[in-house]
Symmetry: C2
Subunit: 103 residues, 2 copies
């Protein structure tokens, strides 16, 4: 689903990743992190797609919300496991959405 | 491939879309647009994934490069066909990348 975000400015985290072959626990954790993110203050929406690489974009009201989400204790554990087991490489980009349009 | 972008700040276009069932000419046009984008001044890289939705993120040195790419005559025609035939909905977000990290 395309996220229904408010009028800019707002913020986003673009998480681009390449997976390892280790699937154990990955899908459950990914689902859990989406459910957990949705409960955080300032969460605006999330979009995700994967084939050769995965791209997940989460949208946030402000930078403080992004920092708090990054430091969420359960999310920190997921990040640790991701680094250790599930991702062979990734890039996280913190961005400010300045304009948007669509139909 | 994860795009190898320079140190921030730089800019990006997040294009999120839902496709119609009309595949005629779509893959060729998508490939052509990537090849054309790569030739534009200020182009830094591109990442793309699709299953339920498609997410394409293109990275650019500055806003002027993004505006010129949006107005490229061949790209305008692709946008027109996309709106008319290939996408049932889309959202384009113009963003400034403020921080990034990865491994």
């Amino acid at each position: 689903m395309i996220a229904e975000t408010p009028a800019p400015p707002y913020y986003a985290v673009i998480f681009t990743s390449v997976r390892t072959d280790d699937d154990l626990g990955y899908a459950e954790m990914a689902d859990r992190m989406v459910a957990l993110a949705e409960q955080q203050p300032g969460f605006l929406g999330i979009e995700s797609a994967r084939n050769d690489i995965g791209i997940t974009v989460s949208y946030w009201a402000d930078m403080v919300s992004i920092k708090k989400w990054k430091m969420n204790i359960e999310h920190l554990e997921a990040q640790r496991l991701g680094h250790e087991k599930w991702y062979s490489s990734f890039k996280t980009r913190i961005v400010k959405v300045e304009r948007d349009y669509g139909f």
